[in-house]
């Protein structure tokens, strides 16, 4: 069977105190694209190109697949748990975003299939404290969804990127969102509520999102992932030019027009751009000898367990 990881576990960070505790080999038939821990830390969701999402229940180092979520027509690209722990979202190349609900009996039910995007959906992420969902797509947009009168609907579409949006991240407050794209830029969007003091118009008494900052000229290739540190407010990006970059918001900036600069060690030091020599990890399917696959990690809240799927960057909290 193909597992979450067939790469050498020690290759990830030798000498850092990480040891491989489990290899979950019986769940998926194709590449595992993303893994996500539930907020309580007891469950792990794995999204796969085999069109399914497995839910694994953890009991110490033992994992059991308790259910397999089916329905997507082709590759599932991302899975994310809402902070409440009762909602899960998945997205796929089939252009849809699915919202699932789980009850106390560990029963999962699809409560919505959202067909707003016109192309492959690359990523889904939940708002930090509201039941608001964001998705990033090959159709160059970010979309937001919430429940209105018992139905999930697309409540906003963020346009501006000129190519595929690969990932999105909310800041700690949830009032801002960062998106990264194949167009080599990061955009920061801010939510304006109806009646806001800046005078930004809102239609239908719904909040509106505006792009307040675009980071361009820093990345030389596609930006695949962005993370927003909820402790420090720093933005981190993972780029196809083999670098991780960290950006810090300028303290004196106007919240309506924030500025971000590449982080420096000190005022005289060089900007922080970490270059990675990518180690080749074996993928879950060796149909093709693989080129570099960057390791993607998902840290559990408790920081003691890490799950790795082959293919993102998640900020330590």
């Amino acid at each position: 069977g193909q597992g979450l990881s067939r790469g050498d576990p020690m290759a990830l960070s030798p000498g850092q105190g990480w040891s491989c505790r489990a290899v979950l080999g019986e769940g998926h038939q194709r590449t595992v694209r993303r893994v996500a821990w539930s907020p309580c830390g007891s469950y792990l969701a794995s999204a796969s190109f085999d069109a399914t999402t497995c839910i694994w229940k953890r009991h110490e180092d033992d994992f059991q697949c308790i259910t397999t979520l089916e329905g997507h027509e082709n590759e599932v690209k991302s899975v994310a748990w809402a902070p409440s722990g009762t909602l899960l979202a998945t997205c796929s190349r089939d252009k849809s975003v699915w919202v699932w609900e789980v009850d106390e009996e560990e029963e999962y039910e699809c409560v919505s299939v959202l067909n707003s995007h016109t192309q492959d959906v690359k990523h889904v992420v939940w708002h930090p404290n509201q039941e608001l969902l964001a998705s990033a797509s090959y159709d160059d947009t970010v979309k937001l969804y919430q429940e209105e009168e018992d139905d999930w609907v697309c409540c906003a579409t963020l346009e501006g990127h000129e190519s595929t949006v690969w990932s999105v991240a909310f800041d700690r407050s949830g009032e801002r969102l960062a998106s990264c794209s194949d167009d080599k830029t990061v955009r920061v969007w801010r939510r304006y509520k109806p009646g806001n003091e800046e005078g930004v118009a809102c239609s239908d008494n719904e909040p509106t999102w505006k792009c307040v900052c675009t980071l361009s000229g820093y990345h030389t290739r596609t930006i695949y992932d962005v993370a927003w540190c909820h402790l420090t407010g720093a933005l981190a990006t993972a780029c196809g030019d083999d670098a991780i970059r960290v950006f810090e918001e300028s303290a004196t900036g106007d919240p309506r027009q924030p500025t971000f600069a590449l982080a420096a060690h000190d005022s005289a030091g060089p900007a922080v751009t970490l270059h990675c020599s990518a180690s080749v990890l074996s993928t879950s399917v060796e149909a093709e000898p693989s080129r570099k696959k960057r390791p993607r990690v998902s840290f559990s809240r408790h920081m003691s367990l890490m799950a790795r799927a082959v293919f993102p960057v998640s900020f330590l909290e």
Binding site: T31, R93, Y138, T164, G240, V285, E288, P289
Partner: protein
């Protein structure tokens, strides 16, 4: 068959070996002609993870010499999916449209479909990309796109070819992989 009577172009000759290239002491950089010419058998010898540790150079000069001596070629000799001809013979690929920057580890290949509505354009682009992935050191960033102005759906095709996830997922399809491998196999 979409294009029953394609124009056939003359194949370029073998590349002359210069004295500098013969000198084993001097490093050989990778240039445009090399991408055009790369031996299709290289990837079988190299294997995943071997010879590709990003050491910064193409390998021993002995490998380069064998490329000049052996007439089998890389992207020149990729077969067209529909015609019994190579991409070079159809002028789909030309050396002048291959740009290599060894120092920056980039390779860009423009390919020209034979007709503007060629439905094989994505497959041809994918074959070129796969050939380069299998043959070049890992450090190379690849850009394969349609020669501007030569295809009705060039933006859509270019976007698919540039999406590494879509390429990887497509190549997990055994049927598609088989078709690509046929394009890449050496014709006797």
């Amino acid at each position: 068959l979409e294009n029953a009577n394609p124009l056939i172009y003359r194949r370029s000759g073998e590349r002359p070996v210069t004295a500098r290239e013969e000198d084993d002491e001097l490093p050989d950089s990778i240039d445009d002609r090399e991408i055009f010419d790369i031996l299709p058998g290289e990837e079988e010898r190299a294997g995943p993870g071997q010879g590709r540790a990003g050491r910064g150079r193409w390998g021993r000069s002995a490998q380069l010499h064998s490329a000049f001596l052996n007439p089998a070629h890389l992207i020149r000799s990729i077969n067209d999916p529909e015609h019994p001809l190579t991409l070079e013979e159809l002028n789909v690929v030309e050396q002048v449209r291959v740009k290599v920057n060894d120092a920056e580890s980039t390779v860009a290949v423009e390919f020209t479909p034979t007709i503007p509505h060629c439905s094989m354009a994505t497959l041809i682009g994918l074959s070129i990309k796969v050939k380069l992935i299998r043959s070049l050191p890992e450090r190379f960033k690849l850009d394969v796109h349609i020669t501007p102005g030569t295809h009705a759906s060039e933006h859509a095709v270019n976007k698919q070819l540039a999406d590494k996830e879509r390429v990887a997922a497509a190549l997990e399809n055994s049927h598609l992989l088989e078709v690509v491998n046929q394009c890449l196999s050496a014709r006797s």
